[in-house]
Subunit: 380 residues, 2 copies
Amino acid sequence: MKVSFRSAKTAVIAALLENDQLSRLELSDRAGVSPAAITEVTQHLLQQGLLLETPAMNAGKRRGRPTVQLSLQASHSCFVGVSINEEKVQLAITDLRGEVLGHEEVTEHSDLQELPAAVRASFTRTLRKSGVARARVRGVGISVAGIVDAEEGICRYSAGLDWRDVPIAEKIAAALKLPAWADNDANAIAMGEKIFGRGREYDNFSIVMLGRTIGSAHYMNGMLYRGHDGSAGEIGHITVDPNGPPCRCGRNGCLDTLAGGYALRQAAKKAGLSIQSMRDLEDLAMRGNAKAIKLLRDAGAALGSAIATLVHLNDPAAVLFTDLEGFENGLFRTATRQAIENGILPRFLASTQIIFGDGEPVSLPRSAASIAAFNYLIAL
Amino acid sequence: MKVSFRSAKTAVIAALLENDQLSRLELSDRAGVSPAAITEVTQHLLQQGLLLETPAMNAGKRRGRPTVQLSLQASHSCFVGVSINEEKVQLAITDLRGEVLGHEEVTEHSDLQELPAAVRASFTRTLRKSGVARARVRGVGISVAGIVDAEEGICRYSAGLDWRDVPIAEKIAAALKLPAWADNDANAIAMGEKIFGRGREYDNFSIVMLGRTIGSAHYMNGMLYRGHDGSAGEIGHITVDPNGPPCRCGRNGCLDTLAGGYALRQAAKKAGLSIQSMRDLEDLAMRGNAKAIKLLRDAGAALGSAIATLVHLNDPAAVLFTDLEGFENGLFRTATRQAIENGILPRFLASTQIIFGDGEPVSLPRSAASIAAFNYLIAL
DNA sequence: CCTATAAATTCACTCAGTGAATAAATTGGA
DNA sequence: TCCAATTTATTCACTGAGTGAATTTATAGG
């Protein structure tokens, strides 16, 4: 028999991840399980210290036995997240609800030989600084910018890191003496949104990661959708404009070359604009610089067009953007949103949430930690 | 508790739909259930007459007790399929394996008032002609060209039929005195491929329906993916060329206007080509007619570009085309295939099957019947 | 005719769940 | 003050779907 994917226990945990606080009867309802089973399960989880009982807020208001609210004891379990990409390696420690308890950059040059030791040193430091008890740490999640076999914890290929078949989960697990799980960075963000963030209420949503390049991932029917070969969400190389600039993949007008952070910074440089960050480019545009305006507007239009296609094909309840480039609120987002709204049929417009959000440096390792949280919680 | 979606019984049926013939021990393996449970389940199903035992083909070959092969008794259950679109209403009766036992066109003008009676008359005729025992018919599946709430069996909207909130399942159920289920036509084709056809071996695939317009649907993680709002697969109105011809949806260069059967026939007429069918257009192209060549090549390129995007976003194991327009093997398919192969990254090229197939008149009602088959079988 | 072998079944058992009855904890009114 | 009403939570006997280990069945081969 397949793992019973929806046991009463996991259903209860899922409901509490989604809702913060629920009484036992509400839990019974949401988890689709009899009150008797809820009693059984919650007793067990209370003993383990995973649940917190908060006596009655409705005391003195209604008749009857007062409800006892249950919530997850966030500090019960902590998780390590390690994000690895060509720019840097970061580490974070979070609690069960995704609160970041500690965070630091591990290293800039992710040399594979030295990586496990560097991560171990960083883990020890961060543990000390944050005051988290080592015994509370349940595992480590690793996000890698590349193609990852999540089942095996092996990075199959990463162009940026020049990795091929690297058993990264195994290496980190050995270094930290903790269970480890690895996944691709976009999948990690999707998982992070689902259990820590803005995706908690949705069964079907897509995330779009705006960084040096553009990635996406999908939650479908309440689970992460990896595709046939683990490559779902490869939005960066969809062709948006067949006559567009050449991409390193050999084709033209890929989304990455039109709206990716790296391409955009290159284009700005080529246009003679001197910028340190995307914020600078947005500022220039705001002050009326025609070149900056054109760059951002075109990039937003390209992204929006790709997202419109995604919406038509997959009909997500929401598209959650994670802005790692620091566009913040500005022309780029406006242009993107406009292109989406112009590009989708009215019925999608009404039913699809388009949600932008500022990424922070800690976004990636925090998402990585969610992989560990997920795997720990479903195995409880 | 949610319906146990993967009980031993449904797992056994699913395995036998996929594999034709399996021994009990093979079944135990594929269904992921102990041999003991297989004995239990198969006893029950044999009694019901759903299973057929075929004694040993390996007699006299190996030592040991000979294996007994089990297969589904195709004639145990029959299903009615009704396909409804703006062109016509068709009806088919199939067996458990999708074999078409009878088929006819119900009517050309799908007047809603008269439809249930017309379907009933057609059902009775087809039943008589095919010699199927009424008692074997387990239900009716209905596919509608429009937006369908499959849960409720209500067509929410169909532009072509001018329907709004039509409880079509209920009406047909009453007319035929059979359980009825309805779904959108592309979803029906996906279901048909999954349980009767080319999709049986895949857990993740997309179908693309080439008709007057273009539709698609996705099977993901082993189940039909409907999207947040039941609108997933709306490929016809993704923008392929922002500078393309106007679409009735108000935008430009939608896939439907570039590669849909209706648009293509209009374009051929406008170009002064006199064709009765797509086969004629393909013939003209084969004989070197430049206009026909351009039409088919451009249309194929547009379709291929859209499919390339689908492959990048969703990474299906296969894309199954259903050609209801009668392009058959020709320039259109070649152009489509080329555009897909040029438009996807090499790793997708290697792992994604692109499979064309000729649609037949009976394709639609046969697919519709699969909806009934699915719903009947999972409820057993 | 006995032994080896492979397939299938039997059977005692477990485990996660349920429904109905009961207990617990409170408010409000006689 | 105390009991009825009300709402929440727990108890408990029971069930259904599964399992693993032992056993039975049916064959080939020496």
